[in-house]
């Protein structure tokens, strides 16, 4: 049981590193604010969520685990709200999205 939880935590922290790095790279690669927000959400939600899952797997007792679950729920409410506010401001200021030049 212990070793299984350790493996789950290790995989979660690894995915935190991978998604966080990819989000950061995307933040500099994409040309327009919408796409940058998309890769920022890769960094800001998936990476943090994986970190919460890893912390949940390493929780020593039920009290800490319950607190982590509540923190995760609050995070699931607050994080999309903040990126939605930024996106809505971009939308209202009239920025049109980036179109990659492909033959399509």
């Amino acid at each position: 049981m212990r070793i299984t939880l350790d493996i789950i935590a290790a995989v979660s922290f690894l995915s935190t590193i991978v998604f966080g790095t990819a989000g950061l790279i995307g933040l500099f690669r994409f040309p327009d604010p919408y796409s940058r927000l998309q890769s920022g959400s890769l960094c800001g939600t998936t990476a943090v969520f994986s970190m919460f899952i890893g912390a949940l797997a390493l929780a020593p007792n039920g009290a800490v685990a319950a607190r982590i679950v509540i923190l995760t729920v609050f995070f699931m409410v607050s994080s999309p709200t903040s990126s939605h506010i930024v996106a809505r401001f971009i939308w209202n200021s009239g920025v049109s999205p980036w179109k990659p030049e492909e033959k399509d």
């Binding site: 990819a22 796409s35 998309q38 959400s41 969520f49 996106a87």
Partner: protein, 185 residues
């Protein structure tokens, strides 16, 4: 936001409101929610913790229940979700979070994508369910809700492959909306 300001101005027109059953229900739901969160954070079961938490949650509920649950909600079922179905919805949400994260990961390194702004409607009726839907659309990488106006959603979709509004809606929110409509009516 808009509903809040409307109900505020409505309250100013009629300052004294009778105590209705709906107000009492709203009050007790808010108090129960606050008390539950308090119990989880404190995780103590002695009488001091429980009683002070109960008193605190009743005071805060009396101050804030008008903000926490809007007055115009249709029924109890549009606020309080089915617990088991909510867990199913969370499982669907986490699954779609990771699948779209991997898609986005590939897109970051290849630099390929077809970002476009799409418009569609939702058939959810409760305000809370619509808010949860637009929040979970933003939560999954690859889609960001730009605006939610009654039941019209404006979404920036990174992997757009259709111009048809219904098909786009099905691709972006189909699974999430089905799981949500079971949880919140």
């Amino acid at each position: 936001m808009k509903d809040q300001s409307e109900s505020d101005s409505g309250m100013r027109k009629h300052p004294i409101k009778p105590i209705t059953l709906w107000n009492i229900i709203r009050f007790f739901i808010t108090a129960a929610f606050l008390f539950g969160v308090w119990l989880i954070f404190a995780f103590r079961w002695d009488s001091y913790a429980v009683l002070s938490g109960l008193a605190g949650s009743f005071v805060i509920s009396g101050l804030t229940y008008k903000v926490f649950i809007a007055e115009h909600e249709a029924s109890l079922n549009s606020i309080v979700p089915w617990p088991l179905r909510l867990i199913i919805f969370f499982a669907v949400l986490i699954f779609s979070l990771y699948t779209s994260s991997f898609k986005m990961l590939v897109a970051v390194f290849s630099g390929k994508g077809s970002p476009r702004i799409v418009y569609f409607k939702t058939r959810l009726r409760s305000d809370l369910a619509r808010m949860v839907l637009s929040n979970s659309i933003t939560f999954t990488p690859g889609t960001i809700t730009l605006d939610l106006n009654d039941d019209h959603l404006i979404v920036h979709w990174f992997f757009c492959n259709t111009r048809h509004a219904k098909a786009a809606g099905e691709a972006v929110k189909g699974r999430l909306e089905r799981a949500l409509s079971r949880a919140w009516r």
